[in-house]
Symmetry: D2
Subunit: 390 residues, 4 copies
């Protein structure tokens, strides 16, 4: 089925991605790929590191004349700065004589736990792989997924809801929020909140501090029947929760208003079923508090989930740590970093949502060629359109 694998260190030659399981004959929109790779970069809260990153994807395999071949797709996102790191990240050779290993772990990062686990003598080995740079690979895989979803009329969106203590207002509908967020430097839909978020970022940055926040990711146009209730590890919510929580710095996920709903009564939470005049499916809901998933299966409403991101752990003002060589107390090293990565994590989260929805669609529709996928999709739409229990 659909899976992907990334390799690559932050300052190595690049991030490599291999994607298995897309059907043959899927048209690939290279502008969409470039667009998403760019979205991941230039946002408020980014430091100088981001503008230096090269996020062009070189396709190495699996695509010919802008269509998938059905064979594995490989992409390479080169590190443009590799020349400056050649010696330090050399696959061959030896450490330069002047090289100083990193030995003071940063709280909030995998540094300490990773070094202990892999018995490293240099924290750089953790830093390089645990870096958010690897998410460029997830973005690429997720954008291939978006390409696959487009002809199935599924679209992925999202927006930032809060940065630090600043929360966006209630806003309009999901489509509108998502559309507006695309043009905002903090990826939010609320102009007033945007101003305050930018201020908060400036304040925090001035204090050498960092901020986290929350965002919502959305899948529009998801048909009922993705995921399953028969196997816990194939439930749509199991998969989505894992994929979102696995993004660096994401520490909370809720499907719909999960936490708020836990405080309400059943009669205030569940989405009653009513008849619909829509030509696509004869039933709908008055509300969508459950995030479009019931019993682990998509129910035909918009799928949406909220993520909580912790503040970036690399602070200019420093955090207390120790030197692992000798146990001495030290300030955690400051690797060049940003004040806030919420708007960028949103892009990665959209990619991962796209990925999981695409994966579930591959299970539902399968087919070795896009032609078969579309036939099956159309057949299913027609079945849904006339749905009646027999």
């Amino acid at each position: 089925m659909l899976d992907f694998h990334t390799a690559g260190e932050s300052h190595g030659k690049g991030i490599i991605v291999v994607v298995n399981g897309l059907p043959a004959g899927l048209p690939i929109d290279f502008d969409m790929i470039a667009g998403e790779m760019t979205r991941r970069r230039n946002k408020a809260g980014s430091g100088p590191r981001m503008s230096m990153e090269g996020d062009e994807v070189e396709i190495l395999a699996g695509i010919r004349w802008a269509k998938t071949l059905g064979s594995p797709i490989a992409g390479l996102i080169r590190n443009r700065d590799y020349a400056n790191w050649q010696e330090v990240m050399n696959p061959q050779g030896k450490p330069p004589s002047t090289y100083e290993p990193v030995t003071v772990p940063r709280p909030g990062h995998a540094d300490l736990a990773g070094a202990v686990k892999y018995r490293y003598d240099d924290l750089r080995n953790v830093i390089e792989r645990a870096s958010a740079r690897e998410t460029a690979g997830r973005c690429f895989a997720g954008t291939l997924a978006r390409n696959f979803l487009a002809p199935l009329h599924i679209e992925i969106g999202g927006w930032v809801e809060s940065i630090g203590e600043v929360k966006a207002g209630s806003g309009e509908n999901f489509h509108e929020k998502s559309r507006r967020a695309r043009r905002s430097p903090v990826a939010t839909y609320d102009a007033e909140a945007e101003t305050k978020m930018l201020e908060a970022l400036e304040h925090a940055g001035r204090d050498g501090d960092t901020l986290g926040g929350t965002f919502v990711v959305v899948a529009f146009g998801v048909m009922p029947g993705l995921g399953t209730h028969v196997k816990w590890d194939e439930r749509l919510d199991t998969r989505i929760a894992g994929a979102l929580m696995g993004i660096p710095a994401i520490k909370g996920v809720e499907v719909g208003d999960g936490f708020a709903n836990s405080r309400k009564r059943g009669s205030e939470v569940h989405d009653e079923i009513i008849r619909s005049s829509s030509p696509s499916f004869p039933f709908t809901r008055r509300t969508n508090r459950c995030g479009g998933i019931e019993g682990g299966v998509s129910n035909g409403e918009t799928v949406w989930a909220r993520c909580a991101m912790k503040p970036i752990p690399t602070l200019l003002k420093g955090l207390q740590s120790v030197d692992l060589k000798n146990g001495e107390e030290k300030q955690a090293r400051y690797e060049r970093s940003d004040t806030c990565a919420v708007a960028r994590a949103l892009v990665v989260a959209e990619a991962m949502l796209a990925w999981e929805i695409a994966r579930a669609c591959r299970v539902k529709f399968s087919g070795d060629s896009m032609e078969e996928v579309l036939d099956r999709f159309k057949e299913y739409r027609s079945y849904l359109s006339n749905y009646r229990m027999l």
Copy 2:
């Protein structure tokens, strides 16, 4: 690798569980199994259904003279009420002539989406498998995991934090909370809150309504180095988030104070690293806000996560729905149910946390026999105890 598979319908012959990958020679504590299976049953908020459920596990394979064989373990949790459902759930034969299929889906359940997906002509087919009854199987698998974790000095606990709008007080340390919760009918540690929770349950029940809530699950004694930062789908937080979100009615998961931390500054969130005088590992933290996981790897602190559970969707007062046969508006059918399942879901969530921690331990220590596992565990403890980067 450790994996498990369940089969079984709610009113069928029983729930069957097959567990692959436990080492040979692991002593199995049958009292612990019986204890956990019982914990899953008798809690405040349960209706008459629970007291009727038979939750004895019959071991069919993989255990001999109270020790694992290293071969797959199979357990069967019989449905004691099967005699009354024999005709309706018969694997062979035909529908009884008087049988009436269920055709009105309950909002909040997989009913509608599942029926559409699998093209059922009877919602009973969804109801039977999407039932919380299947979690008895997860409990059994998770209790085997607890058996495996015990000699590794890892213990699983948890407590209910809120039911509806009633929230427990701040309480003492995790161990104390967990210990107290075991004796509470609502699985909470705070006697005052307990009284209010029971009142809230009574009120809601009287109104024909239901309640959800939140709870925390905890793994004590987790060594640094479980999970990994090198592969997103093998991160410890990816796995735990998926396993918890995949429990019926769980709609939110946070590792540590994920959502609250998203509103704070970096300097207030991250857990600074200090020297420790503990003989087990020379470094520790002043705080544990990150839930014991950094960069997807356990960091040696207690692992903890919070779940949000929605109110039970089967309400005596009914929810609006439609009849799928003819599209007519109907009240959703009332399957005998409970007012609140939060205390029971906690038990399932503890089982799933035990499972995922055990799985990560199998990756870290491996070994075909418990003897090898323990050798490796001891070697690792000694390594941790004297840890210094070389």
Copy 3:
């Protein structure tokens, strides 16, 4: 995806099978299941053990009114002799005071390697799981696969080609061979060879010796396009070779005349492509030496493979071994056994071929309900029927 898991010890309560991934709405033919379970038993060469085995499958889950539910299917094949083994194979309790562990490993079995691997103090722990009894579980899973293949017009067959040095004659076409083999006590198609095989079995049995042999398994009606050339571990030949070699005592597998073809020239081996007047696919071959698989993909011809089975390693006349407790030389213990298991292994091999073909069909057609599978199958047939490259 289609997968199955077995658990169970030879003299334990039974063999448990869980099958994941069959679509909903598949009619199950219980007579076919009973028939295949019986075929696995009563053949020439069997000793008294086989007639005692109970091979009735009790369906525990996943099937209702003779149709699959789409949820996992669980079956239990009870050991009718368990009453006599209750103490020795008790999941709980302790070894009976009179119990003598097995400590002399039988050459040709997993005894020694398994005991070393799992650190057993009793070879019975290996014997019980490495037993051919477990293949009853594979038969059940394979027969469910046959049920799934039937509406796709795919049928599985096979025949014994040789027992010891006795080889069947050239015979007629595959269908005829397969049909005749079903009625033969040694599962061969050639009456003359049958007589000689039975003689050879009698001779060997009289000498306290055992025999192996070869057999062919066949899948009729396989459409082109199962398996894939794009990923080595999803090639159809990779999967089939593994599934057949994994049957106890199978030590050789060839797809088509693999070994004989290695001695010929290319012009004598490859199956030239010609036009066909068949309504099902416009191209065919004059020969089918490659076993219906080219480049890891089924090519539309009959899929066939040959297996070599070693003689049963449990000999009445004994083989030299050692006592693992003290290193003393001993004769290997004689567990009640048969002279020859080739005809029975054929049944298991057919089951595993059915399984792998079904698995590949699930990938090709997918669908959550049999209705969808059949729609897709029909669409594909019509595509094949009119196949022309565009």
Copy 4:
């Protein structure tokens, strides 16, 4: 656990390999990699294509200063001839106006089945991925596996036994055969047979025909206890058979003398267990007919398997085929090819055997760092050395 993924088309930019699951701190011998990549090329029977192939592996990730990082390893084997194929294999753009798709499938290749499966309008899409070029990727992965096996004292070897009808003589012991084969242009150990094989190749080449053959792959130093009898798909023979059969043009696999043994009596086949004076394990065998695997588990003897390779299907003299555009009969197109690939397939088969043995060792020893792996290996050796059942 250990897995690898390849991507890449024969005339595309290159073959990409991602390897997951090797421990950190494993020293990588780049000369060994270069050596194996070269072995795969220059052998008798190769046509001009091979000498043009560039088989240098560029490491893109996962290795630093000649040691693994524990993160995924990525390698790229560039196609030096890409400049000439740039337009035809362009990931972007359009077909050149002069481009002629391939429409006549070659018998013996995936051409027809692959085109039907993926609905291609150009057989080049199959040819490019089904090409033996992809095995360069498997060689790279297998050589990493050899690097991992070296400190575990496991060595992989092999030799060609026959080419066409020419069979090598009985030869000496396995080590000697393997050693000699390394220096032979046809990878055999028997000087006399070598001469005849070269003659046979010349004859066949002159006739525009091709040859297949058989070879043996061997793993020296395998400890007892790899693989398992408890799960059919994790048996060592299941895995090895699949990995070898999945190599292009391999159509037969036997573990030990699988087919010959099927004709003998049990008393002549099984490897009796005797005491050994070796310091490594107190038991051994007088013979090793079973290929070092009993019941799916390595038994401490040398693991060996034989493969049958069909003759190369691309013949200068042509094979009958059809044009898929219009159904007309045509001679199969001659893609530049070789007379015989047996000696090269041996190198790939050794790589895959190395891979599967390494995978089984990862299961047995696990560990995130090579230090842990070696500790566990040493502990196991000491256990084996003093083995006695307790």
